[in-house]
């Protein structure tokens, strides 16, 4: 019985972690560029037991063995890099990658982070920065006399210079990166991901070539969380949690029965 209790406890703990992941997804249902997580469960080791009661009687077959598992464990929380819906904002600095790829962001400590959240803006010196103020990599600065900025599908950034002869000038090229295994990226928070051993090294490229997605200016990528799916998952997680708690109370009742055998 004690084993049934620890087995069922592992089930309850797993469902608790499941609910945590679901709750985080639901909390980020409106976060631009957010990628939902899903948990993956697998069973634990098995032991082959002959129930202690099944003895070898004279002329009877040897006892059959039963495989008893030890419960379940959380094996992975996968980030699902399925695309989110396009949300039109009309802001020329709001960029969305249609297809594969991440924007590169230079963090204050010099390291690189990656994001699908393309809500860029200008800082005091007219550098292109994220909402948190981190620089886009490679860095881009909009000239003071530019009246309009536009980003093409292939990532070329051009500005309309003020003056009697309004001219359009290319001032830079956006670079985006892809990973061999994007699901292996670690989350840093702030809509940023960082490279890990599991994700592999980033491959830099230009939007629209080598499998990179194209840039859509004036759009933001919505969160890819689907509320109905998350709610259904939450219901199944709660019921699984209850089932396992039932197993614990049955095991507890049986232990109580044993305790009361000898008064």
């Amino acid at each position: 019985m004690l084993r049934a209790m620890t087995t069922a406890a592992s089930g309850m703990k797993a469902q608790q972690l499941n609910i945590d992941a679901i709750a985080n997804n639901l909390a980020n249902v409106n976060t631009a560029g957010f990628k939902k997580s899903q948990v993956e469960f697998q069973d634990l080791l098995y032991e082959s037991v002959a129930p202690a009661g099944a003895t070898r009687g004279s002329g009877l077959a040897p006892p059959t063995r039963v495989e008893i598992g030890h419960g379940v464990k959380l094996v992975a929380t996968d980030r699902m890099f399925t695309p989110g819906a396009m949300k039109q904002t009309g802001n020329p600095l709001d960029l969305m990658i249609e297809g594969d790829g991440f924007f590169q962001i230079r963090l204050p400590d010099g390291s690189l982070a990656y994001t699908r959240d393309g809500s860029f803006r200008l800082d005091g010196e007219r550098n292109l920065v994220t909402a948190a103020g981190y620089f886009l990599e490679p860095a881009l600065q909009i000239p003071l006399d530019a009246t309009e900025v536009s980003v093409a599908r292939d990532g070329t950034v051009s500005v309309l210079l003020a003056g009697d002869n309004a001219t359009v000038q290319d001032i830079g090229q956006l670079e985006i990166v892809r990973f061999p295994n994007a699901a292996g990226l670690a989350s840093r928070g702030g809509n940023l991901f960082i490279e890990t051993a599991a994700s592999g090294a980033p491959l830099t490229g230009v939007p629209g070539r080598d499998g990179m997605g194209e840039v859509a200016a004036g759009f933001l990528e919505s969160s890819n969380v689907e509320t109905i799916e998350e709610l259904v998952n939450m219901i199944t997680a709660q019921r699984a949690y209850e089932l396992n708690s039932r197993a614990i109370s049955v095991a507890d009742d049986m232990l109580q029965t044993v305790n009361q055998l000898k008064r």
């Binding site: 899903q38 077959a61 008893i68 089932l243 029965t257």
Partner: protein, 260 residues
């Protein structure tokens, strides 16, 4: 009396083992591709084993066997039978390109340090070296070894062929067994085949791989709960038997007048 105590003890142990197995099924009610273990309690050798005669009669003379049946005690031995339930679970659509489900028969083949293992859990991913791996990092085998998938996007066709940008890179190995009920759980959603079971590759036309879906656990929680309640009540009944045996022993030891 002692015999009834021992019989009750053995029966209680059988019920406890059954509860442990059921608890494992319930814990894995959400694990993709999990195959539940069905258990049921049977009686072994429920035949009259011997005709029981008292060793001496009341006059204290050795009794001659007269060929009549006096008291008989059937030797009732409980046995717990278990079998892996290979019925398919429901298919759940996830939209993830690495999630594969088998809509028909068969198992995916996975390479582990302990040898080849088989699974219905198709939650695969491409690792940093481009190999198709399970959630625990074990390589998924195609016809000629681990499958290598360069780049990000890949399509898995119904017969298990992996296609990248129009080129067929290989075919997932999907196997079947003559006696699949003898497969053993090894944890991590993997099953092992006993030595005499040969994994037979399934012909491409009978393979049905569905990309973007996962097979859910086939645990039937209602059945598991009902079995659990039945096992608990049977356990309680056996505990009553044990109590009755204990009380009789107590009477015999403490209350009978002493013999001369």
């Amino acid at each position: 009396m002692l015999r009834s105590l021992r019989a009750a003890e053995r029966a209680m142990n059988v019920h406890v083992t059954r509860i442990n197995a059921l608890a494992n099924n319930l814990a894995n009610v959400d694990a993709a591709g999990f195959k539940q273990v069905l258990t049921h309690v049977t009686e072994r050798g429920a035949t009259v084993r011997s005709v029981e005669e008292p060793a001496r009669t009341l006059d204290n003379e050795p009794k001659r066997a007269k060929g009549g049946t006096a008291a008989w005690s059937p030797q009732r031995e409980l046995d717990l039978r278990s079998a892996i339930d290979l019925r398919p679970g429901a298919l759940r659509e996830t939209g993830r390109q690495g999630d594969l489900a088998l809509a028909g028969d068969g198992f995916f083949v996975v390479q582990t340090p302990e040898g080849e293992r088989y699974t219905r859990n198709g939650r695969f991913a491409v690792d940093r070296d481009g190999r198709l791996v399970t959630a625990s990092g074990a390589a998924v085998l195609g016809g000629g070894g681990p499958l290598e998938i360069p780049g990000g996007q890949f399509v898995v066709q119904r017969d298990g062929s992996v296609v990248v940008e129009g080129n067929v890179l290989g075919r997932l190995q999907v196997v079947r067994f003559s006696e699949p009920s003898r497969l053993e759980h090894k944890g991590n959603a993997l099953l092992a085949a006993p030595r005499d079971q040969v994994a037979e590759p399934m012909p491409p036309e009978s393979v049905q791989v569905v990309q973007g879906s996962l097979e859910a656990s086939n645990v039937d929680p209602i059945r598991a709960l009902v079995d659990m309640i039945a096992a608990q009540r049977a356990f309680e009944i056996e505990s009553r038997v044990m109590q009755a045996g204990d009380e009789s022993l107590e009477k015999a030891v403490n209350s009978l007048p002493s013999t001369r």
